[in-house]
């Protein structure tokens, strides 16, 4: 109420002031009339009445102060004054606003991403209590035992991700599907937009009910509500749509594929449900309220050995011990992959922000000195030092807030750009937004910078300084010591950023220069999903029929097939069958994690990898001992320097399929292999990935037990030109297999390089921006220092110094400052390098080339920034210089 009256008064302040004036005048008139009645002469009455009224101005101000808090009014004055003085110095104001807005824009952009991906609470009920069961995927019996025996969790969610083909609703289409456990939507708060979600009944049948995602419903079915009840064929089986998931549902990354188009109940065939070889489930749970992460971990540490005792096959680690149960907060599990790079980007952008801040301080100091006389006059008219300081900070904060608003606008564009440029998928990308949280961040940063920048000149408001200022019209005190430290700080900060970008750039070059171990230039690959509707023998027949047709296409040099293609990324996880431990006949068992890659004949010839020994022909033997080709590093591990060809390998343990698999090798048990070839330096999973202990086996040996298959082809010319012909060949064999995912190998290689390229480009642009800002800052500082010392220069010239001497002195001084900055920044850069270590490939965090280049660039920049002011100083006319005062 009171506030409303204050506002109403403020609204009518002019008429209110007039009303008070009228009132006072009337008061005076009445008093005068009374005095006349008491017998005074009109003139005397007027005098007395006027005297009784006292100081009218004071009364007006007092009345006004009743309605407006005095501080608010002063603030208003200061802001008006700030706007006026900012208008009077447009270059300065635009400089401050531009630099601050740029810094805040960049920092806010990166902060929005960090906030959306890493900081914001998960959009699920009790999100902070959700945990993810790490260490790969888990088998159905393991999940079943966990649910029964782990007490810390109140709700469980498991999912089996599969890509499947949908047939019977237009052209065949590959879909990402997730089969989810009964409590899944309860845990993640899913609601239906049409129809219903799964109920207990859906888990009793054969699991043929499906729920569509909101996006899929809109894009594929035009948001038609009548889709509920329709039937399709997914993965060779008839399904019925029972509902559509609300559009606002955000798939929990890590637990289900993103995007998941079709949801199905997790109903497993009895054989798979009981088989511990099928590590297919992603598992998450919500802890009971009040159970801390530490308590849950303590319970898991107790439960793991107990479960192992009950059932060693299901809960063992394959080496005779219990498999530890590892949980992570789901938020951490989701953000984990990008956690470090994002924080590093935020750190880098903060360094840039500091440089921007230093520049603003710099500008403010210079302007403070220019305004010395004005401030001195105000001080001598009675403005206290505190009052002047508040005035200066208000001016700075006013500009800062304008810059903050502009920075927020830049961040809005920046976030869109960053999300668009981000290669691959950024987890929780949908939750990145420039919203109130982010705005608060930007405003706080703006106020912080502006306050610091405003305080810098305010701290110099000492009486001595002001006295000097009023005498000379400028302030000579201090001799620019603060400018010296600013130059040092800018050099140090810029060095850190430049070293960081140089390291990442060198790392990127190192990755690009890795020899892939094959010749990607003329290779193409078709990624196919055969799915459940193909029986294992049908898969082999299909693959071989297609390969025969592809080989017949004019321009095709060779073609082959395999479950894995080079440079095909599988997110973070790899794709294949794994086997732990192997031994050479009569040798000791070695601890190695073997990766098993089922491939077809002429695989190595098709991708252009060189194999010592023999590769597989079409007539590969299908009886033990199976012929295999192994990677050179595995050969070295097993046989040392001896010739591996013709030697036998026994795998010691039963196959442990802890990777993304659909089935263990059919021949598990006691397969023994004969090494018939050795392939070296073949980087299957990306140029920056190590070569694993790889075993290539003929895929027929595994009986076609795979649902994804890659068709590789080698062309005489550019592979892109033959993609339509390959697609036609696939359609000729089976038109219902979606063949839209056919790419060239060079494109595939580029895709694996996209993330390192993105980070190094972003760092490089921060580094470049930092360099420009630092150069501008150094130039301004040197200009200022030289101007401050113009009198000294004049005297030197008068005493016979040549312009070159003066210039050398100034440049030398700048060089000294730069060197101090380099030393300080060097320590910072070493620390930064250590943080970057995990992002670096083939480059030491102390890489001398990176440090040397960055240092050299900065020294050259510093000298160049000093050169122009130095030349000006050298040409100083002694008379003018001395006369300045």
């Amino acid at each position: 109420m009171k506030l409303l009256r204050r506002i109403a008064w403020w609204w009518n302040r002019n008429s209110e002031a007039r009303a008070l004036a009228d009132e006072l005048a009337e008061h005076e008139a009445l008093k005068q009339a009374e005095l006349v009645r008491q017998g005074l002469s009109p003139a005397a009455a007027a005098r007395t009445a006027r005297r009784a009224m006292g100081n009218a101005t004071w009364m007006r101000e007092e009345s006004r102060a009743v309605w407006i808090w005095p501080w608010l009014e002063r603030l208003g004055q200061d802001i008006r004054y700030a706007v006026r003085s900012a208008r009077k110095a447009p270059a300065y104001s635009l400089g401050v606003i531009g630099i601050t807005a740029l810094g805040i824009g960049a920092a806010t952009t990166v902060f929005s991403v960090v906030d959306g991906v890493l900081l914001r609470p998960l959009p699920y009920p009790g999100g902070e209590r959700l945990v993810y069961f790490d260490n790969g995927s888990h088998s159905p019996p393991r999940f079943r035992d966990w649910q029964r025996q782990i007490r810390s969790a109140e709700r469980w969610a498991a999912s089996w991700r599969e890509s499947q083909d949908m047939v019977g609703a237009g052209p065949p289409q590959r879909l990402m599907t997730a089969r989810v456990s009964p409590q899944f939507f309860e845990v993640f708060g899913g609601r239906p937009a049409a129809g219903r979600l799964f109920t207990a009944g859906d888990y009793e049948g054969d699991g043929s009910q499906v729920v569509l995602s909101g996006l899929f419903w809109r894009t594929r079915f035009g948001a038609d509500p009548a889709v509920v009840g329709r039937r399709f064929n997914i993965g060779g089986r008839g399904v019925e749509v029972i509902g559509v998931l609300d559009d606002r549902f955000v798939e929990p990354d890590k637990v289900v594929p993103r995007p998941t188009q079709v949801w199905r109940p997790l109903v497993l065939p009895a054989a798979i449900a009981a088989d511990h070889h099928y590590s297919i489930l992603e598992v998450a749970a919500r802890l009971k309220p009040g159970v801390s992460l530490a308590e849950a971990r303590a319970e898991l540490a107790r439960v793991a050995p107990e479960l192992f005792r009950q059932n060693p096959a299901v809960h063992g680690n394959g080496e005779g011990g219990p498999e530890p149960i590892v949980i992570l907060p789901l938020k951490q599990a989701i953000g984990g992959r990008v956690d470090r790079p994002l924080w590093i980007l935020l750190g880098a952008v903060s360094l840039m922000l500091l440089i921007a801040c230093a520049n603003v301080v710099n500008l403010n100091l210079a302007r403070g000195a220019d305004r010395a006389r004005e401030l001195a006059v105000r001080a001598s008219l009675g403005a206290g030092r505190g009052r002047l300081a508040i005035q200066l900070v208000t001016e700075s904060v006013t500009l800062g807030l304008v810059a903050g608003a502009a920075g927020l606008g830049l961040a809005y564009l920046g976030v869109r750009g960053l999300s668009a440029l981000y290669p691959g998928d950024l987890p929780r990308a949908a939750e990145i937004a420039v919203d109130a949280r982010v705005a608060v961040f930007a405003v706080l940063v703006a106020i912080l910078i502006a306050t610091a920048a405003g305080l810098a000149p305010a701290l110099r408001l000492k009486s001595r300084w002001l006295n000097e200022a009023i005498k000379t019209g400028s302030a000579q005190a201090g001799r620019g010591r603060s400018h010296n430290s600013l130059v040092i700080a800018e050099v140090a900060l810029a060095l850190m950023l430049l070293v960081g970008s140089a390291l990442l750039f060198r790392s990127f070059l190192a990755i690009v220069n890795v020899a892939p171990g094959f010749t990607p230039q003329s290779v193409g690959v078709a990624n196919l999903v055969l799915g459940d509707r193909f029986k294992p023998e049908q898969r082999i027949a299909f693959a071989e029929a297609v390969i025969r047709r592809i080989r017949a296409i004019p321009g095709i040099v060779d073609a082959s097939t395999g479950v894995v293609a080079p440079m095909a990324r599988f997110g973070n996880s790899r794709c294949c069958w794994g086997e732990r431990g192997a031994k050479v006949e009569d040798g000791a068992r070695i601890d190695a994690r073997l990766m098993l890659h089922p491939i077809g004949a002429r695989y190595f010839e098709t991708i252009g990898a060189s194999v010592k020994g023999a590769t597989f022909s079409d007539e590969a033997t299908l009886a033990p001992p199976y012929p295999v080709v192994i990677s050179a590093n595995l050969a070295a591990k097993l046989f040392g320097a001896a010739n591996p060809l013709g030697r036998r390998i026994l795998t010691g343990t039963a196959a442990r399929a802890d990777l993304k698999v659909t089935s263990p090798p059919a021949a598990s048990g006691d397969p023994s292999w004969v090494v018939q070839g050795v392939v070296s330096g073949l980087h299957l999973f990306g140029l920056d990935q190590d070569v694993d202990d790889e075993v290539f086996v003929p895929y027929r040996q595994l009986g076609g037990d795979f649902d994804e298959i890659k068709l590789l082809f080698r062309t005489a010319g550019a592979p892109a030109a033959l993609i339509p012909a390959v697609r036609a060949a696939i359609a000729e064999v089976d038109p219902t297999v979606p063949a839209d995912d056919i790419v060239t190998m060079p494109a595939q290689v580029r895709r694996t390089l996209a993330e390192p390229r993105f980070y190094s480009t972003l760092m490089a642009s921060f580094g470049l921006l930092a360099l420009i800002l630092a150069a501008a800052g150094m130039y301004a500082s040197m200009l200022y220092i030289v101007r401050q010392r113009s009198r000294e220069m004049g005297i030197r010239v008068a005493l016979g110094a040549r312009p070159a001497d003066i210039a050398r002195m100034v440049v030398g001084g700048a060089g000294r400052l730069a060197l101090i900055g380099l030393v300080i920044g060097g320590f910072g850069a070493v620390a930064l390098g250590n943080v970057l270590r995990s992002l670096l490939f083939g480059v030491s965090p102390l890489d001398p080339v990176a440090f040397g280049t960055a240092g050299l660039v900065l020294v050259v920049t510093a000298l160049a920034a000093a050169y122009l002011p130095a030349r000006r100083a050298g040409r100083a006319d002694p008379l003018t210089a001395i006369r300045t005062d």
Binding site: A19, E26, S63, V66
Partner: protein
């Protein structure tokens, strides 16, 4: 020669006196000052410099409502009326004042 001094008001009593004066009916600022002076036999002299800020404060707090009328001079003047909340405030301040005076008198009596 003795200097005639107007005694200072007890702190915090100005609002109470103004409210009490206005309680009789609408009054303008001059009227309030005159009224207080006459009733108190010239003891309470309210200076213009404190009267008008006090009136503004009472308006801000919603205890007084201004309206324009004609003064004895037949000129425009601002008349103040007591609002409901002003009436309540008057009662409260009066009770508080009585309590205070009573307490002071007791202290003085026992001394």
């Amino acid at each position: 020669m003795t200097i005639e001094r107007t005694p200072d008001l007890l702190p915090g009593t100005l609002d109470l006196l103004v409210l009490k004066a206005v309680a009789r009916g609408p009054m303008h600022g001059y009227g309030i000052a005159q009224h207080l002076k006459q009733i108190s036999d010239n003891v309470l002299q309210v200076g213009e410099s404190s009267l008008y800020p006090a009136l503004q404060r009472l308006m801000l707090n919603g205890h007084l409502k201004p309206e324009w009328g004609l003064s004895e001079n037949n000129r425009r003047a601002r008349f103040y009326t007591l609002t409901a909340s002003g009436r309540k405030q008057l009662a409260a301040e009066r009770a508080e004042f009585d309590r205070m005076i009573f307490a002071i008198q007791r202290v003085l009596a026992t001394a």
